[in-house]
């Protein structure tokens, strides 16, 4: 019995003479603690590994973790390979803290699985002190830790732009306009969360190669949506007083974009006769108004106007679909062979008037609930167009 006891003591002594360090605990924190459910994102995880130095004089050893795992709802949903390791030589019997940091890409697929699972997801790693066999209990040299991660909805976090689509008012991406035509650009912006959009419309001649860019206007737009949101912006009048090829873009200062800024191209052609058409500013109705017999169409008077023509264009002239048609050069009163979008309705008023209402006969031409574009053109005593307004949209009642 004494021999058995002595043998056990020798074994215990041998086992106790630990030559390697051992990992005792792992903790972690993820930043941010939530990523968007619909897009995923990057997460920085900071790992803290506690290690206990060997009982006898040791040699440098490596703490290593080969991969991270993501668990959600009790299931492992993803494995993200990525080696983390450090070499150190902790003093005998002394605890040591090792820090690791990594950036993991939580893909949209992973983010959606997390969103569907109950409770937060866990980013899990097992750290092992290489060279010792994994063991459990008091002498284990591997330990796992995790960082909790959630996903956020569309209303959380800072304002974010998902998509910007630019077009000219007639829906085209390229345009040729006469001097004084006053072209404008429409930006359709898709976003999430809320905040203030800070942007600037800029335009420059293409030949400048990015130099001599003019800032046409500052944009400050409040955006607010619980889910995904959409907003439509209209640019100021683009440079149109000198002929040539131009490029226009919406430069977004805040929020920061993670895609390239879209651009449009247009050409300004000299007006026939060398005259520069004036621009008529529209006073009302505002964009998107539901027009009724009470609605007053009002505009800035143009010098020299003998008459004004209010023109209303359908989006779909033939009922099937709308096409790229620029009404800028449409004849005043359209005939059988007009080359641009035919009028849905119109009204001619004397030059002494700068406002009018549509009559019943014009309303009879409008389909209830349909959207129309309208503008005003000024005509001089010789029957020539001397000024025109930009296009606006309204909805028939």
């Amino acid at each position: 019995m004494l021999r058995a006891l002595l043998g056990a003591l020798v074994v215990l002594a041998l086992l106790g003479t630990r030559a390697e360090a051992e990992v005792t605990s792992v903790s972690a924190a993820a930043l941010p603690a939530a990523v968007p459910a619909t897009g995923g994102g990057a997460v920085t995880v900071n790992w803290t590994v506690q290690r206990l130095g060997p009982r006898t004089g040791g040699q440098p050893s490596t703490v290593r973790s080969a991969q991270a795992e993501i668990w959600a709802g009790g299931n492992r949903i993803a494995v993200l390979p990525g080696l983390l390791q450090q070499v150190s030589n902790p003093p005998v019997g002394t605890p040591e803290t090792l820090s690791f940091s990594e950036t993991l890409m939580i893909t949209p697929a992973i983010a959606r699985q997390i969103a569907r699972a109950s409770g937060p997801a866990l980013i899990v790693r097992e750290f092992t002190d290489v060279g010792t066999a994994p063991a459990v209990g008091a002498f284990g040299s591997a330990a796992s830790g995790n960082a909790a991660l959630s996903v956020s909805g569309n209303a959380q976090g800072a304002l974010s732009l998902r998509r910007i689509e630019l077009s000219f008012e007639d829906g085209s991406r390229t345009g040729i306009f006469n001097t004084g035509a006053g072209p404008r650009v429409v930006a359709e912006i898709a976003y999430t969360s809320s905040g203030i959009l800070e942007a600037e419309w800029r335009a420059a001649r293409v030949e400048g190669g990015g130099n001599f860019e003019r800032s046409l206007g500052i944009v400050r737009q409040q955006l607010s949506s619980a889910g995904r949101g959409q907003v439509r912006l209209l640019s100021p009048k683009l440079p149109d007083d000198m002929a040539g090829l131009y490029e226009v873009r919406l430069v977004v200062r805040r929020p920061v974009l993670n895609f390239d800024l879209p651009r449009l191209r247009y050409y300004i052609s000299p007006e026939e006769g060398g005259r520069v058409l004036g621009e008529i500013s529209l006073i009302g109705p505002d964009e998107g108004t539901r027009v009724t017999p009470a609605t007053i169409f009002a505009w800035e008077p143009a010098a020299g106007a003998e008459a004004y023509q209010v023109e209303i264009f359908p989006l779909a002239p033939d009922g099937a679909s709308a096409g790229m048609r620029a009404p800028a050069s449409a004849e005043l009163l359209l005939g059988a062979f007009d080359l641009d979008t035919p009028l849905a309705a119109g009204k001619l008023v004397p030059g002494t008037a700068s406002r009018t209402r549509l009559s019943d006969i014009s309303f009879a031409r409008l389909e209830p609930g349909e959207t129309y574009r309208w503008r005003v053109r000024a005509i001089d005593g010789g029957g020539r167009v001397i000024a025109r307004s930009p296009l606006r949209f309204f909805k028939a009642p």
Partner: protein
């Protein structure tokens, strides 16, 4: 017979003062070969020959019967344009003198009597010929001549750089650029063909539209067979080029895409159907002219729709669309005008949408609904699974005060409400920007009378529509009130209240609060509790040749969780314009903005000033333009100050005519100075000047 119209003393133009009054002096005129719908209404024949001259006055006569039964006021429409305000009384009849010569061809005239609370009564309708006779065609039954019109323009400019300094990129000192547009219409019998398109020239390939020196831009071609007078108004057509649905739906936006579609409509527009195949993204250039190459992606499907079907007490309109598609494969080329967060693999999916719109109570009540279903795999062969989702939209509106007046002004009040539910992962290749993941209701009211318009809206919506266990749910409450007022200033003479001009006011306030409605157990993310609100006001006036405007906007974002910085923004906008003469225009606009981030105590101030001079220095010979832009940004996010001055003098050598192009020489240049770059060289002025020779050749054939 009472006098209805007050003569202004100008060349026969009559300016009607009060619509409530009604009068007419009837005359007897010779009856022309028009198609009068009410006995006694007659249109005088042309003064010479069988067609009217383009500027010939149109004279109408009404019989004593029509006059004696007259209760309202008269209205005249020419080709859908209401010209009633320029009807005049001359001698013993109604006369309309064209303000602008009518185009050659056929014009439709309609004379109405308008009575209060009754639909317009057509007193006469005529098809009149103006200008030369219609093109001669082959003799024989059923023969119809070919009408062809071609209009276009080609602009080319050759530029030679004369001087430059400190340009940030090198460019060719000599280059060509230009653009061309062409439009064609041809009709023979019941077949019509139309085409419109543009092209761009830029000899410096690095600056060109598509990398090619000369390339097409966008185009649209239509072939239509049939007309409204055919059997049941049956029409069919083929459309190529850039087009899209007239109105967007949840499943397909109304963006223009290049492609092909075929359509048919019948029963006088009561039924429409189309099939389409378009590229997924915006295409320009000659590459893939029909938008059918696989690398451009595709959206293919069909649409069905009815016109407004009369059910007796109301009308109903149905429409539907189905598509199946795949995104473009080529991620190396960014489509013109598009910017988007994109996955690395092309998505694919399909979906459909159906819409019902009904109108009741003489069109005052509108009830509509749309339901859409989508199947979308956002990354195609990638890790994301296909999502099936739906979206529903219900809306109603009512015209409360139709036919009501306040004094002399009609008044209208339209109220309405929407309810919507769009699933969390609802998406469509046909509507890439669709606002998904929201469920809620909104209400609106629009009041209009005189020059006043008021709009009110309220919205309450939540996200996490699918009720996903791991996602929190947020709620948005949003209110908005806005209005415009442009009063009619009554003046006894021009001098009275002249200082007021033609004034207008705009104003508005809106605010939204987003906060947490439901938080999952163990949720690690931050709370949500923030407000955004905006207040703005604007005022301005027009005084004939000059005008001014002032707008002030104040916006605030407050995050009560302190996870994000509160921000405040103030923007002042001042503009003015002065048409000094018909040859000299001055315009200027100044914006001053302050943007504050409270958490970082950073404040940035931005000034943007634009000034323009446009002058016809020697009429028909020398034009000039000068532009100045000052852009200053100081404080947080500081960027270098920038001044840009650009201008051009153009000497017109030859004006365009039917046989000659327009020729001109121009001298143009630009100077830019910057202040605030780190590298001193970037702060040096940069400039360039060009000598330009310009040719503009119009194309006309009719």
């Amino acid at each position: 017979m009472s006098e209805l119209y007050e003569r202004t003393g100008r060349k026969g133009l009559i300016f009607r003062k009060n619509r409530a009054k009604a009068a007419l002096i009837g005359v007897s005129l010779l009856f022309f070969s028009g198609q009068a719908m009410a006995e006694g209404t007659q249109l005088a024949p042309p003064q010479a020959g069988t067609v009217y001259a383009p500027d010939e006055p149109l004279r109408f006569a009404l019989s004593a019967d029509v006059i004696s039964n007259f209760q309202g006021r008269f209205a005249l429409e020419i080709d859908r344009v209401d010209v009633s305000d320029l009807l005049s009384i001359s001698g013993s009849g109604l006369v309309y003198a064209p303000v602008s010569p009518l185009t050659s061809g056929t014009h439709t005239l309609r004379l109405y009597e308008l009575r209060k609370d009754e639909p317009p009564l057509v007193l006469g309708e005529w098809e009149v010929e103006v200008g030369g006779p219609q093109g001669a065609g082959p003799e024989g039954e059923g023969a119809s001549p070919l009408d062809l019109t071609l209009v276009g323009q080609v602009d080319v400019e050759a530029r030679r750089r004369l001087a430059s300094n400190n340009l940030t990129r090198s460019s060719d000192p000599t280059a060509l650029s230009g653009a061309a547009q062409l439009a064609l219409e041809a009709q023979q019998g019941r077949v019509s063909v139309s085409f419109s398109g543009n092209a761009f020239l830029e000899s410096e390939k690095a600056l060109s539209l598509t990398g090619n020196v000369l390339d097409a831009g966008e185009y649209l071609a239509d072939i239509v067979v049939g007309d409204e007078e055919g059997a049941g108004g049956l029409k069919a057509g083929l459309r190529l080029g850039h087009h899209g649905p007239a109105t967007g739906s949840l499943i397909m936006s109304n963006y223009f895409r290049r492609g092909v579609s075929a359509w048919v409509s019948g029963f006088d527009g009561g039924l429409e159907a189309s099939a389409f195949s378009v590229a997924d993204e915006a295409l320009v250039g000659g590459r893939d002219p029909l938008g059918q190459q696989s690398r451009s992606g595709h959206l293919r499907g069909f649409t069905l729709g009815t016109g407004a079907l009369d059910l007796g007490p109301g009308t109903v309109k149905l429409s539907g669309i189905y598509y199946t598609g795949e995104e473009a494969q080529d991620f190396s080329v960014t489509p013109l005008g598009e910017g988007e967060e994109a996955l690395s693999t092309a998505g694919e999916g399909d979906g459909w949408s159906g819409r019902l719109e009904t109108r009741w109570l003489d069109g005052r009540l509108m009830l509509a609904g749309e339901h859409a279903r989508s199947n979308l795999d956002e990354d195609g062969q990638g890790a994301l699974a296909e999502e099936s989702a739906s979206a529903t939209l219900l809306s109603a509106s009512y015209d409360v005060l139709r036919g009501t007046s306040w004094g002399d002004d009609p008044v209208s009040l339209i109220v309405g409400a929407d309810w919507y539910e769009i699933d969390t992962f609802f998406g469509s290749l046909g509507n890439p920007g669709v606002a998904a993941d929201k469920e809620g209701a909104s209400a609106f009211a629009q009041l209009q009378s005189g020059g006043m318009s008021l709009n009110f809206s309220a919205r309450d919506e939540t996200n996490n529509v699918d009720g996903l266990a791991g996602l929190p749910t947020e709620r948005l409450r949003f209110l908005s009130l806005s209005g415009t007022y442009y009063p009619q200033i009554e003046r006894e003479n021009e001098e009275e209240l002249a200082w007021l001009g033609e004034p207008y006011l705009t104003f508005g306030a809106s605010g939204g609060r987003i906060d947490r409605d439901k938080t999952p157990i163990g949720y690690q993310g931050p709370d949500t509790d923030n407000d955004t609100w905006t207040v703005y006001g604007g005022i301005g006036s027009y005084y004939g040749p000059w005008s001014w405007g002032l707008t002030q906007t104040h916006s605030v974002y407050e995050d009560r969780t302190d996870a994000l910085s509160d921000t405040r923004n103030d923007l002042t906008d001042i503009s003015a314009s002065w048409a000094v003469s018909d040859r000299l225009n001055l315009t200027s606009g100044l914006q001053f903005g302050i943007y504050e981030e409270r958490q970082s105590a950073r404040t940035s101030r931005q000034v943007n000033w634009l000034a323009n001079i446009d002058a016809e220095i020697i009429p028909g010979t020398l034009n000039g333009a000068l532009n100045y832009n000052l852009n200053l940004l100081t404080g947080g996010g500081d960027t270098p100050d920038r001044n840009v001055l650009s201008g051009e003098l153009e000497w017109i050598l030859e004006e365009a005519s039917e046989t000659r192009p327009r020729l001109s020489l121009a001298l143009r240049g630009a100077v830019e100075t910057n202040n605030g770059y780190t590298a001193p060289t970037d702060n040096e002025s940069r400039y360039e000047t060009y000598a330009v020779f310009r040719i503009q050749a119009p194309v006309r054939y009719r």
